[in-house]
């Protein structure tokens, strides 16, 4: 009986230690999350547009004179803001467009600043409120907007998600879970 009680106590202590440790780890994770938090917002989330007639107009506007390219990157920087970020984004796009998986596509890059004549039209049509921004437009239809986070990995992930080899993983508007 005494052994049974002792075993039970040990079990209880082990249980409490495990649960308390899990609770502390949870609080620690949550604290770290709040420190690193980047609340999802319209400025950070990716938006996929399906090629509706309205969006086709936006694509055309974004592509501008580059309509012959399969994939057009439009790097948009606002003068006086985030110049360094825009430069970094340009380098990321440049590096990426020269390497697979884009190598089989005819790609072009367009840089836009507030000095461009169609700057205002494009930021209004694509509801861009933060800079730098990147529009990835595909000739076949669809445009993806990226804001803030414009490193190579994010751009590549975006491409793969919507149009790449694993493009079938993209959940379409009508897909259901």
């Amino acid at each position: 009986m005494a052994n049974k009680n002792r075993l039970s106590s040990i079990k209880k202590i082990l249980f409490m230690v495990t649960v308390t440790a899990a609770m502390i780890m949870g609080i620690y994770s949550l604290t770290l999350a709040f420190v690193n938090v980047q609340w999802a917002s319209i400025s950070t989330s990716l938006i996929m547009r399906t090629a509706t007639p309205e969006d086709s107009d936006k694509i055309e506007a974004a592509i501008g004179s580059e309509t012959e390219s399969d994939l057009v990157f439009v790097v948009i920087a606002n003068l006086g803001e985030c110049i360094e970020d825009a430069a970094a984004a340009s380098i990321a796009v440049q590096n990426l467009s020269a390497t697979p998986p884009f190598s089989d596509l005819q790609t072009s890059i367009r840089y836009m600043t507030a000095e461009d004549s169609d700057f205002k039209v494009i930021i209004e049509q694509n509801e861009i409120r933060q800079f730098p921004a990147l529009l990835i437009a595909k000739k076949g239809g669809g445009v993806v907007r990226l804001v803030n986070k414009l490193d190579e990995k994010t751009i590549l992930d975006t491409y793969q998600r919507y149009w790449g080899d694993s493009a079938s993983t993209a959940e379409t508007e009508y897909s259901i879970y």
Binding site: F15, M23, S29, A40, T44, A170, E171, Y177
Partner: protein
């Protein structure tokens, strides 16, 4: 004649002394429901372990030859088995809260979500999976939740619940499944699409984020792990006596059902497997149920469908096996009015699923675990609609 109520202490009387006479039992024959005979306990255990081994081998072969169809088939087979084993039907679990103030179902759902969330967060930290932002469409999610939650009470089950009950031979659920197909077809029709597009357009300009935290940022994984660990440990502390009490260890029901909480954890773990395997088959979302009838419908009428939706039908095989081993594979019917209502409920469930982009499994068990705002809206409205309908229809506002 003596009155039994006037007896004192150990005093006893015979039946004759009370003035009553003994009546013979009713001669009407008892109707034994038709069904498959339940195997003996030993045979059932042997079948279970052999099947478990076969499914594990099939999944293993799939991993070795890198054909994830086998693995996904095994996952959905297991999901079907455990859902039936515990009666993990959202309609019943949620309605029980209103009908009998039984909160076990709600807590089990929470355990499944938190378990899945913990895995998604950890695997995201380790870089094993990429969490993609789901879609966000506020008004369709809210309306779909209301339709789905109402329909599931009339149908007697959500999509997964209706499917596993239908495999048991429950006629209302079979009719409900037919209704679900009709509802999905209605959603796919031109006017259905038009309606969905209209509802989508109403909230299109709201521009809400699709996830609580940017899924491409570091905070997502940390927040998922944090919420899951705190939630699970808090539940362990709340129910520590039940967890630790060894006397309850063998207190499983005689009908062979498994405890809800155990099954909830298994469902969460199967969600981990599904989110790893899914991308190999063109699916970025973890578990789901509505994509099964949706894929079948697309395949029959359009000739093409996502392979994962067709593979997931192994869910039904798992459910059927579990039902047989539990002796639940029995043909059960119901009055005509109930069958009509089940069909109507099924139509609502099907249409709600296509409007909301998912069902209980896809939106709550998986979507909540991914911190999806669309799934949160759908899930909350679905639960509220379920409770309201249960209160009005099943309890008659009492």
């Amino acid at each position: 004649m003596m009155n039994p109520q006037t007896l004192k202490g150990d005093q006893t009387i015979t039946l004759e002394e009370t003035g009553h006479t003994r009546t013979e039992p009713a001669k009407t024959p008892i109707r034994i429901p038709r069904g498959f005979r339940k195997p003996s306990h030993k045979t059932a255990a042997a079948i279970f372990w052999i099947t478990f081994a076969v499914v594990a081998v099939v999944a293993g072969i799939g991993i070795v030859v890198q054909d994830m169809r086998f693995v996904m088939a095994a996952i959905y087979f297991a999901v079907g088995f455990v859902f039936q084993r515990a009666g993990f039907c959202s309609a019943s679990l949620l309605s029980a809260v209103v009908l009998s103030r039984d909160m076990r179902g709600l807590r089990a759902i929470l355990v499944a979500v938190l378990t899945a969330m913990l895995g998604f967060g950890l695997m995201d930290i380790l870089g094993w999976v990429t969490i993609y932002p789901g879609r966000i469409s506020v008004i369709p999610a809210a309306v779909a939740g209301l339709i789905f939650g109402t329909g599931m009470v009339f149908a007697g089950g959500c999509i997964s619940g209706s499917l596993f009950k239908a495999t048991e031979g429950h006629l209302p659920s079979i009719i409900a499944v037919a209704g679900i197909f009709a509802g999905l077809a209605a959603g796919l029709s031109p006017w259905g699409r038009g309606g969905i597009d209209f509802l989508t357009s109403l909230s299109e300009s709201w521009k809400l984020p699709s996830n609580i935290v940017d899924p491409f940022g570091d905070a997502f994984a940390l927040m998922a792990v944090g919420i899951a660990l705190i939630g699970l440990s808090a539940m362990c502390l709340l129910y520590r006596r039940r967890i630790l009490d060894s006397r309850l260890k063998n207190a499983y029901p005689a009908d062979g059902s498994w405890p809800l909480f155990g099954v909830a954890v298994i469902v969460g773990l199967l969600g981990w497997a599904a989110i790893v395997v899914g991308p190999f088959l063109g699916r970025t979302h973890p578990l789901g149920a509505s994509h099964m009838p949706y894929a079948l419908l697309k395949y029959v009428f359009e000739g093409n469908a996502r392979i994962v939706g067709l593979i997931a039908w192994t869910f039904v095989l798992g459910s059927a096996l579990s039902a047989w081993l539990r002796g639940k594979l029995i043909w059960r019917t119901a009055p005509k009015g109930m069958l009509v209502l089940a069909y109507f409920g099924g139509v609502l469930v099907g249409f709600g699923a296509i409007l909301g982009g998912g069902c209980f499994v896809g939106q709550i068990l998986s979507g909540w675990a991914l911190l999806s705002i669309h799934a949160l809206i759908f899930g909350i409205t679905m639960i509220l609609a379920n409770w309201a309908t249960t209160l009005l229809y099943l309890r008659g506002w009492r």
